[in-house]
Every structure is written in structure tokens, then in C-alpha cells.
Amino acid sequence: MRSFAYARPLTVMAAVQALADASPHARIIAGGTTLYDLMKLNIEAPQALVDVSRLGELTTFDTSGTRELVFGAMARMSDIAADRTLQTDYPALAESLWLAASPQVRNMATVGGNLLQRTRCAYFRGGAPYPCNKRQPGSGCAAIGGLDRSHAILGTSTSCVAVYPGDWAVALAAFDAQLDTVSPRGERTIPIDELHREPGETPHLETILKPDELIVRIRVPVTVAGRASTYHKIRDRASYAFALASAAVALRVDGDTVREARIALGGVATRPWRARDAERALMGGALTEGSARAAGELAFTAARTGQYNRFKVELGARTIAEALMIAKGRAKTS
């Protein structure tokens, strides 16, 4: 591992100053569970780290607001997953956190940093002799035509088929969350749907954030659809694994009629993936096993499969259908 300069600001103001002072090759470190891991693999080699894990003003969160839920970016995944209000009123958000990683990692990782978790593509992490356009732009992609069982079938390009691995960002996408950021150039607000990029020809650019731009807060607009929601995660083992397919679903129903449907997918796409065609298909109709299944299939009409991941089309459709029925069950009891 290459050595690095290190700064640990204690306030957001000091953090912005530290980012302005740091080399252009500085990276922000929070919980460290992705960045330090990749530094050990020599995939990340920052010249400087700005450690934002002690920004106490960003560790609080409030799920009781009447207009929006507010999460400080440095709040730990485990603390938010344990919030009773969130578990009751927005189960999809709580589930996306506690079904992620392990208890230890959830105690370390922050909800801001988690959005920026990098792919688990084995060719990206494995290094030589395998080319990877994400790791080394222009070198090629070993996953295309390679062992692509875990790879994406939506949002892929001829340069990259790596899956976005996170869960929380998928659930936030279903609820149209917004992110507040600061940088030496000032503050801005980014809709979660605009945070992540599809790989295109530049798979090394994963988000629209600038290197010196810090996520300070995540805001989720209040919606009654939160109660009738779920994060349904299908894995190779029952716990502590990345999603093969996942669906964050939230519903507002009137009797049997769907008035609002929110569906976002994980484990199948290069970025958190909002399934808007499937949402529209459900609007105004009755939610049945049949219509849920049809919506699930609609979400994958644009899928491009590789050698070993064809099963994700069927698995993904079934995951959406099951999630819709789970959410419908919660609508009845809420």
C-alpha cells in the first residue's frame, strides 16, 4: 500500500478547508470499509485521505419529521437500521440496511459512504492479469465473455457489466431521496436518481460527485407508501451476501386499486435502477399475482444477458412480483 497524508477535520467547515488544501488526488474516508479494503488491493492508491468520520454534526438523524426524513451522512448503518419509526413507517429503508453486510461492518460503515460502495466484480477487485476498464480505463473488460454470473443485465455497456452492489441506495431510489453535498465551491442538492452513472464508455466514473465533494445529508420525502414497502433481497445464502437480485417496492393502494407504485432494483444493474415502466403498468389496476408478475417481466424487457447470468431475468421478475405482494400485505395491515 502506498503511504498517504492524513487529515482528520472535526467540523464540516474544517473538512471543506481540508479538501480545498489537499492534493487533487485526495480521497474522503468515512467508515473505510470500501476504500481501505481497495487500498489493500492496490486498486485505490490515494495520496491523501481526509477522514470525515469524526464530523459529529453529521451523525444525527430524524425520522419523525412531517415533511421529510433526514439522515446525517456519518450516521452508522446499524443505528439507522435499529430505528423503530423507520422499521414501522419505512420498512424498505430499514431492511435495506440490516440485510446488508455483517453486523460488524454495519457498525463501521456510514449511510453516506455506503452510497459510494464500489462494485464487487471479481475482475475489478482481482487485478492482473485481468483487464478492467473501471480499474484501468481502456484496458478492456474480462467480465464480458468471462465468469459473469453475478454481473449486471441492465444499464450495461460494451465497456463494463459490473453490478452496483449496494442495497440502501436502491431503497432510497424508490423513495426519490435527495442528497445535500458541500465542497470548496459551495453546497448543492442532488436527486439520488442522478448520483450514479451508467458505465457507458467511462466506467471508472461511477457518480457525478467531484473528488472534493462531501455528502453531508440524505433527505427522504415523507410518503404514506412507506408503510406498505419492503426491500426484498435474494442471495446465494440466507445472510451476509450481496444481492443476486433485489427489489425495493412501496405502494399506495385504495381498496384493491394501485394509486402509487415505486420499484427500484439492485443486484441486476450497473447502478440503482428505477423500474418506471413496471410502476406505470401497475397504476390504476388491481394488484394480483398475475399483474405483479407481468410488472416484474416488464422491468427486464431491455435486459442484455451474458453467458452465465441469463437466470437473472427470471429471478429479477420473480423478485419484483414477490416484493409487490409483500408490500400489498403491509398495505392491508397498516
Partner: protein
């Protein structure tokens, strides 16, 4: 007053420990010139210099010579390096030692009583044959103690879910679950 508060008070620039430039030292070498940290490990306060690249796991094993905490995968996947940081379980391999500055760490060596008497969970692991080779055991026990304190050990399903971050390649899982089930009610009586 804890150290976090001290830093807030005594650091006018509100930013601390800015190292000057990337160094040339080898990774994690004990005693290499690095950055100074102040840390409490198993109730003892320690002040040491660490290489910026060193993990909390490297600090515990290579600097403090506490060899109970194990390096398995070194990537946060196996749980063998689990310790408690300010009372919460973490994988020490995925944390920079620098990030533990000013905080309190408990390793497996800090679990036994002052007279060396085993913790209830340690004894339960022995009683239920909850290990074979033993390499994962310190991490399993640190996680198990945290699992009980978090309130996640009230059912077999809960134990299995909340112990999923600790892998045992010998497959002693049945004994591990039995040990935790046995220790949980007795821990609740024995701990403050």
C-alpha cells in the same frame, strides 16, 4: 472528559493530525515513524506511533502483541479479527489504526475477569465444543458477546442472522449457536 471532547476544546483549527507528506516507511512496521495515537486497549491507556497505513488489527497484534485477535481474510469478510470499539463490534482489519485514536478497544484478552476467570461466553464455548481448530474462536466470542448485548440472541434465527459475519471453516456452527443460547440468559444476569 473523553478525548473527543478534549480535541474539540484544545484544537483551535478544528482539524488534527495532519501528516506532512506521504512517507517512505514499510507498511505496518512496528515502531516505524508515523502518527501518534492515544488509545485505550483492554482498560489500559496506550500512546503509540503508527504507520498511517496500519490497520487496528495490525496495531493490536504487531504493536501491542495481543495475539488473540486473528488475521483471517484481512478484507472484512471472515470476522476473525472482531473486536469491540467503544463497546460495539467491528472488524479491526477494515479500520485504520488512526481512526481508533481516542477510542476504547476491547480484544478477547480483555474479556476475562481481573483474576483471569473466564467470561460466561468463553466458558460456554468450551462447554458446547463450539470450536475445532480455534482460529475463528476469538472473533466468534467477541461477536457472540456483542450479539447478546445488542439483544439479538433471543432466538436461534436471531443468533444465526446476527452471527453471520463470523465464518467458521471447521463448521462448528451448531456448537456456536448452542453456546450463545446457553450463555445469553446467564450473561444478562452477570453483566452490569
Amino acid at each position: 472528559m473523553n478525548r473527543n471532547e478534549l480535541q474539540e476544546v484544545v484544537t483551535p483549527a478544528q482539524s488534527i493530525l495532519v501528516s506532512t507528506r506521504p512517507g517512505e516507511q514499510s507498511a505496518g512496521a512496528p515502531g516505524s515513524s508515523g502518527l501518534s495515537i492515544d488509545i485505550v486497549v483492554n482498560r489500559q491507556r496506550r500512546q503509540l506511533d503508527v504507520d498511517p497505513r496500519a490497520s487496528l488489527l495490525d496495531l493490536v497484534r504487531d504493536h501491542l502483541h495481543l495475539m488473540g485477535t486473528k488475521k483471517g481474510c484481512d478484507h472484512g469478510q471472515c470476522g476473525a479479527c472482531t473486536v469491540h470499539l467503544d463497546g460495539r463490534r467491528v472488524v479491526s482489519c477494515l479500520m485504520l489504526a488512526l481512526q481508533a485514536d481516542g477510542r476504547e478497544v476491547t480484544t478477547i484478552e480483555g474479556l476475562a475477569g481481573p483474576n483471569g476467570s473466564l467470561h460466561v461466553m468463553q466458558q460456554a464455548f468450551i462447554d458446547h465444543d463450539a470450536l475445532q481448530c480455534g482460529y475463528c474462536t476469538p472473533g466468534q466470542i467477541m461477536s457472540a458477546v456483542a450479539c447478546v448485548r445488542e439483544g439479538h440472541a433471543n432466538s436461534v434465527a436471531g443468533i444465526r442472522e446476527y452471527m453471520s459475519g463470523n465464518l467458521c471453516r471447521c463448521g462448528a456452527y451448531v456448537g456456536i449457536v448452542a453456546a450463545i443460547q446457553d450463555a445469553a440468559p446467564r450473561m444478562q444476569g452477570a453483566e452490569p
